[in-house]
Each structure stands twice: as structure tokens, then as C-alpha cells.
């Protein structure tokens, strides 16, 4: 067996590299501060606001945006949409990196991160939805890791191990969809326990369903969005099949996203009706709710449909970024903005710059890891020595 040589080029001072270097250096500095001076020195968390953007963005948004892995592998391997095959590996990779970074971010947020395995090995709090989230995220991170290994094993030339893993594809895909269904929905269900703190327009017994359905939108949109970025920056790494299928993937996913967004919109309306929260629509929170549901659910739904019908990739890609932003807004609303709506503004939370710094740091690590892996491993092209799976 021969390991491939990793050729580390001399870093070139492109604008991206300069910004990334600054973010990483600052992030490392904040990391030291976080683990020597505590959360008080680095965050604006308080007794009223125990969860800030490290949960609202890094966990809630991170997990939703990493949904591309299960959505794409399910479409290709379970629903038999083989023309999406070249989209699977990039989606699995971004999913794996996304979840890995979510877990990394949690190490900053929880008080004693070395105890993160305690819910599994010391005492199981099975009445907690957070237990379900933790168990599923831990298992799914493992599944994504295994699903990603064929690329690494091909790169390393470990043929037998690679073929063994490939044989597990179907089982892993099914397991991945089950785990994703459970924890994507449970992230929403986390807030079911606090009806007195979450604004009635966002609180709903359907929270779990909202989070699950919108995670499908997030997954589809992220695949389109990341695909567009990959085409811009890694076009030279793509093989013929990838380039040929890419437009079909974007259009197909846009069509699917349009349908799912339509269903999601109806669900949101049902949620308001179920809570009989119509009168809240006339308030400030109501206006913000309408911005979210019309501006970032209904309109992207229409624009995805138009883009797919006209086969207009520009519209599709633009709408994908739009829909992703909508998911971010939704998770921020549930986790931060509409949460603790009853408190006076003096007690409300706004992130400390160091919290934003760590979130940027973690996203940057993800981009750098993606760059390295895509540059070295067969992600955007099929390895010539192996049968596609």
C-alpha cells in the first residue's frame, strides 16, 4: 500500500487566505480565553438567556444546513434518482464536516465539554429531547464519517476496506435518514417544553415537524448553493460526469425544494390556525413572522418553481441562497429572537463579538477542511480505479 503524497503548496496570500488566517488566529485567542476565563468573559449569556448564538447558529443552523447529506443520498440510493449520483459525495462531505463542526462548537458552549459523553456512559436522561438530539447527532456523525470514508480510502489506495464500506451504502443511507428525521425534528421539539417563553406565532405542537420539513429545504438548497460555489472555485477538479450532471441536479433539486417549501408554507399556516394566533399577526412580532413566512418561504417556493420551469440556473442558484437565509432566520427566531419575547429589552440577549468570532472561526475551519479534502480526494470526480457505487 502506498500512501499518497500530500503536497502542501506554499501558502499564497490571496485575499481569502489572509482573511482565513486572521479569523483562525483570533479564534484561537478566544479559545484560550474561553477555557481559562469561562463563558462570562467571552459571551453575553445570562441567567435569562442560557443559549446564545453558539446554540442558535452553530447547533440549530449548523445541523439544518448539513442536511444535504441525508437528502441527497436518500434521493440517489433510496428513491432511485441515479442522475443525482455525482452530487452524493460532495453532499456527504459537507454534511460530515457540518456535523463535526457542530460537535466542535458544542465544546465551546457547554460548561464542562469533557463530560459530553456522560449522557451515554454515566446516566441516561431519556425523558429529555436533548438526549435524543445528542444520541442521534453522535450516531449520525459516525454514519456520515463512514459514508465519507470511501473517498478517503480511495485516496489512500486501501481498496479492500473501501469495497467493504461501499457494500454498506444502502444500510448506512437508511440509518442516516432515520437518524436525521429524529434529530432534525427534535431540535425543534427542544422548545416544546417552554411554551411560556417562545412567542405563540413560533411555538406550536408542530415544531418538530416544522424543523424536519424545513431541514429538507435546507439540505436541497445547500446542495444547489454549494454546487454553484464548487463550480466557481473547483471547476478544474470536476470530471466529465460531474459537469454533465450538475445542471440537472440543480434543476431537479430546485423543483423538489419548491414542492417542499409549498408544503412547509401550508404547515406554518396550519400552525398559526392551530394556536389560534391570528391576532398576533397585527403586532411587531407578527410583521416579522410574515417576513419570515412570506418573504423567506413562499417567495423562494415560487422562484424555485420558476427557475426549474424556465431551466434558469441563475434564478435557481439565487433562490437557493435565499432559501438558506430563510432557514437561518427561522432558527434564529425560534432560538433567540422570539425566545424570551416576554422579557424587557434590557434583559434580552445580543451576542458578544467573541461569540461571533468563534462562530466565524468554526465556519472557516469547515471551509479550509473542505478545500483540503476536495483538492486531494475523489469528491468532485470518480476515481478511475474504482467502480462507482
Amino acid at each position: 500500500m502506498q500512501f499518497p503524497k500530500v503536497t502542501l503548496e506554499r501558502p499564497r496570500w490571496t485575499p481569502f487566505n489572509i482573511v482565513a488566517a486572521i479569523v483562525v488566529v483570533v479564534g484561537l485567542g478566544i479559545t484560550v480565553l474561553r477555557f481559562t476565563k469561562g463563558l462570562a468573559a467571552t459571551t453575553n449569556l445570562s441567567d435569562y438567556n442560557p443559549w446564545g448564538i453558539w446554540i442558535g447558529f452553530d447547533l440549530l443552523v449548523g445541523v439544518a444546513l448539513a442536511a444535504g447529506g441525508y437528502v441527497t443520498s436518500a434521493a440517489c440510493y433510496l428513491f432511485g434518482l441515479k442522475r443525482f449520483h455525482t452530487a452524493v459525495r460532495p453532499a456527504i462531505l459537507t454534511g460530515f464536516l457540518g456535523y463535526a463542526l457542530v460537535v466542535l462548537a458544542l465544546h465551546y458552549d457547554v460548561g464542562r465539554p469533557w463530560r459530553l459523553p456522560y449522557p451515554f456512559i454515566v446516566q441516561q436522561g431519556t425523558t429529555s429531547l436533548l438526549f435524543e438530539v445528542a444520541a442521534c447527532v453522535a450516531l449520525y456523525l459516525t454514519v456520515l464519517f463512514i459514508e465519507w470514508t470511501p473517498a478517503a480510502l480511495e485516496w489512500l489506495g486501501l481498496k479492500r476496506a473501501r469495497n467493504l464500506v461501499v457494500r454498506l451504502t444502502l444500510v448506512l443511507t437508511i440509518f442516516g435518514v432515520v437518524l436525521s428525521t429524529l434529530h432534525q425534528s427534535s431540535l425543534g421539539a427542544l422548545f416544546l417544553i417552554a411554551p411560556s417563553k417562545l412567542h405563540p406565532l413560533w411555538y406550536s405542537p408542530y415544531l418538530a415537524l416544522f424543523f424536519f420539513v424545513s431541514s429538507i429545504v435546507a439540505g436541497l438548497s445547500m446542495v444547489i448553493f454549494e454546487g454553484a460555489l464548487a463550480h466557481r472555485y473547483f471547476h478544474h477538479k470536476m470530471d466529465e460526469a460531474h459537469r454533465r450532471e450538475a445542471d440537472g441536479v440543480a434543476l431537479g433539486f430546485a423543483k423538489a425544494a419548491s414542492w417542499v417549501l409549498g408544503g412547509y408554507f401550508v404547515l406554518k399556516v396550519v400552525g398559526v390556525a392551530q394556536a389560534d394566533a391570528w391576532h398576533h399577526l397585527a403586532s411587531g412580532y407578527g410583521a416579522w413572522f410574515l417576513v419570515e413566512v412570506i418573504g423567506f418561504v413562499l417567495l423562494p417556493c415560487f422562484f424555485f418553481a420558476i427557475g426549474a420551469r424556465e431551466k434558469n440556473l441563475r434564478i435557481v442558484r439565487f433562490t437557493a441562497a435565499w432559501a438558506v437565509l430563510g432557514i437561518v432566520i427561522n432558527r434564529f427566531n425560534v432560538g433567540l429572537i422570539a425566545f424570551n419575547y416576554h422579557l424587557p429589552s434590557s434583559e434580552r440577549y445580543f451576542p458578544h463579538w467573541m461569540e461571533i468570532g468563534i462562530s466565524l472561526f468554526i465556519v472557516t475551519i469547515g471551509v479550509l477542511a473542505y478545500k483540503f479534502i476536495v483538492s486531494h480526494m475523489p469528491i468532485l470526480y470518480a476515481h478511475p480505479d474504482y467502480e462507482p457505487h
Binding site: R34, F35, T36, K37, G38, L39, A40, T43, L45, S46, D47, Y48, P50, W51, A74, Y77, L78, F79, G80, D109, V110, G111, R112, P113, R115, L116, Y118, P119, V122, Q123, Q124, G125, T127, S128, L129, L130, F131, E132, A134, L170, I174, F175, V177, V178, T181, L182, S185, S186, A189, L190, F191, L192, I193, A194, P195, S196, K197, P205, A208, H342
Partner: protein, 364 residues
């Protein structure tokens, strides 16, 4: 749990209230108390509280909490509304200008020790315990520090030691559980000079509250806060003004916190059981559809090939037959021609009718 008679009488004596009268005969008629019928509680009477902060001082002392920034004798701190924090398990706030109240009113905040605690239900490592004596206690030795308990608590009681880098704990009132075990009263109850806090079995406290309402008509609202709120709490409050006026939420409802997540948790095994079946089914259906499509395609191709072959054969046969016919005709023609020529050569007239013109037979 078993409270020894001696310990129980100790509490009663210390509380100075004739609570021992509460007999077991009442138990069946009273609302459930989280499966612990003998669980203890405290009744806080807002009309009796004078805002002296003696309870805060006692709490700080018996729980060995850090000294306060301003001394407990300083009543100036009451000018600001405060909440529990990592150094304070209980706080008294002052409320002024409430319609219907003669002077300022005071309210004590601490953990209400829910019968079905949201914090305990939310904790993914079971750091919280609802003890049979009613106290909700916290075990820092397993706590990961996710702070979901703080999200879950409808009374916004648990707090966190954000300033500790390596050993932060959730901090909250323990109902002086270690003291109860020794037969001592909670620190705050023991220190209260105005009997605003009454300690006893929760079911007795509910009765006492009603008795006070009956004894002093018009002094109290007909509502024992904590009897049903969030499924009921060990600490109960009675007041002469609406609870919202003294900073207590009246919109919490009566559903215990675990009920709120029961549905979502119940879906988990269903998804875990049915999703694999459903997804394998979808996979199998698609594979079967692909296989049938392939077979049909193959069958269609085979049929088309066979049809083409048969047609070709037929065409060939026809062509051969025609060629044969043409050949025969040509021979006949040639024979006839030869005969005619022979006849003409012999100078005779043609015998019989001419079989068509030469143009009638096309060349093969």
C-alpha cells in the same frame, strides 16, 4: 419516603404551627402531589411579608453562598427588581403602586420545587432529582453544563456559574434538602419573623391556605398559586392582589412540563421502527421498477428483433418466389420466342394465340 415521627414533630415544633392536625383521611380528597402524598412544601403569604430580607440572609448563611455585594440589612437593594443568580438562591422584590394595596408589597422568589419539574424532565443526564420530601435537588457531579434546564424552567429559577472556567455549576434553591434530612427547617422559613412562610406537608398547606381565605374574607384572592400551575408546585403562594402585579406569570397553564414533550418523545420509537421499513420498501419498489423496466426493454428489443427477422425472411421468400416466377416466365418467353422463330423460319403462320406482348413481363 419515610419521615420519622420524631423528625416530623421536630419540624412542627420549630414551625410553631399546629399542623399535626392534618390527618391521612384528607389525602384522598386532595389533588395529587407528584406521587409523594407526604411531600413537604411552604406556603408564602404575600399579605404577611414585610420585605426585611432576613430569609435572604439565612439562605446565604445555611447554603454557604458567597457574601453579597451589599449587606442584607441594606433595604436599598429593593429599589431594583432582582432575580436569582449564581450567588443567590432566593430574592425578595418590592412592588409599589399596586391598585388595591395599601402600601408596597413584597414577593419572595426561589425554586418552587415543582411536582413534575421541567428541569428534571429536560436534563439529558438526570442531574435533577425530585425527592420524596418534595425537594428538587441537583447533582453537579454529572452535569455537562448544557443549560437546557434553564431554558425549560417556567419560573426562570436555575442559574449558572458563567464565571467559572472549568467547574461551572447550575445553582438553585435546594429546599434546604440537607437540612430537611436532619429534621431542620429550611433556612428561610426558620428566619422569617412575620410568619409569611409556613412549612408543612403540601396537602396540609393547601387546607391552611383555604382556611385563611375563609377566616379573612376579602383579604385574599381565591387562588392558591402553585396548586395547579405547571402541574402543581411544592411552594404555594397566596396574595391579595393579582399575581401578575407582583411579577408572577398567570399564563403558565396547568400542564406539567413532561406532558409537553411526551408526544414528540412518543414519535421516536415509531420513526425508528417504521422508517427503515418504509425506506427499504421505497428502495425495493424502485429497484423492482428498474428491473421490470429493464426486462420490458429487453423483451421489447427481442420482440422487435424477432419481428424484423420474420419480416426480412418473408421479404426474402417473396423475392425468391418472384425471382423464380420471373425466371420461369423468362424461360417460357425464350422458349416461345424460339418456337415462333422456328415457325417463322418454316414459313408457317403462328399456332394458337400470342401469350401477351413482351412488355407484359417485367424483367426479374
Amino acid at each position: 419516603m419515610s419521615i420519622s415521627r420524631r423528625r416530623f414533630l421536630g419540624w412542627m415544633g420549630a414551625a410553631g404551627a399546629g399542623l399535626a392536625a392534618g390527618g391521612r383521611a384528607h389525602a384522598a380528597a386532595l389533588p395529587p402531589s407528584g406521587g409523594h402524598p407526604d411531600a413537604l412544601g411552604v406556603l408564602f403569604d404575600v399579605t404577611r411579608c414585610i420585605g426585611c430580607r432576613k430569609c435572604e440572609e439565612a439562605c446565604n448563611r445555611v447554603n454557604e453562598l458567597p457574601p453579597p455585594e451589599r449587606p442584607f440589612q441594606d433595604l436599598g437593594v429593593l429599589q431594583k427588581t432582582r432575580r436569582t443568580d449564581a450567588r443567590t438562591y432566593t430574592v425578595v422584590n418590592r412592588y409599589e403602586g399596586i391598585p388595591g394595596a395599601k402600601g408596597p408589597l413584597y414577593r419572595k422568589i426561589q425554586c418552587n420545587h415543582c411536582l413534575e419539574p421541567a428541569c428534571a424532565s429536560a436534563c439529558f443526564v438526570r442531574a435533577f432529582t425530585k425527592n420524596p420530601d418534595g425537594a428538587v435537588t441537583y447533582d453537579e457531579s454529572v452535569c455537562v453544563g448544557c443549560r437546557y434546564c434553564m431554558i425549560a424552567c417556567p419560573f426562570e429559577i436555575p442559574t449558572y456559574e458563567y464565571d467559572k472556567a472549568l467547574t461551572p455549576r447550575v445553582m438553585k434553591c435546594t429546599f434546604c434538602h440537607p437540612r430537611l434530612v436532619q429534621g431542620l427547617l429550611p433556612g428561610c422559613v426558620e428566619a422569617c419573623p412575620s410568619e409569611a412562610l409556613t412549612f408543612g406537608r403540601r396537602r396540609d398547606l393547601l387546607r391552611i391556605a383555604r382556611e385563611r381565605m375563609a377566616q379573612f374574607p376579602g383579604r385574599y384572592l381565591d387562588h392558591i398559586y402553585g396548586e395547579f400551575e405547571m402541574g402543581g408546585t411544592a411552594w404555594l403562594t397566596i396574595s391579595g392582589v393579582p399575581f401578575a402585579a407582583i411579577g408572577m406569570r398567570e399564563d403558565l397553564g396547568t400542564t406539567p412540563a413532561p406532558e409537553l414533550t411526551k408526544g414528540a418523545l412518543g414519535v421516536v420509537p415509531v420513526v425508528a421502527a417504521m422508517w427503515p421499513v418504509l425506506l427499504t420498501g421505497i428502495y425495493a419498489i424502485n429497484r423492482r421498477r428498474d428491473r421490470i423496466a429493464r426486462e420490458e426493454r429487453e423483451a421489447a428489443v427481442a420482440a422487435a428483433v424477432a419481428r424484423a427477422e420474420a419480416e426480412a425472411k418473408k421479404k426474402l421468400a417473396e423475392a425468391l418466389a418472384k425471382a423464380e416466377k420471373d425466371k420461369k416466365a423468362a424461360i417460357e418467353r425464350e422458349v416461345k420466342k424460339a418456337l415462333e422463330e422456328a415457325a417463322r423460319a418454316r414459313g408457317e403462320a403462328p399456332a394458337g394465340p400470342t401469350p401477351g406482348t413482351p412488355g407484359a413481363t417485367k424483367p426479374a
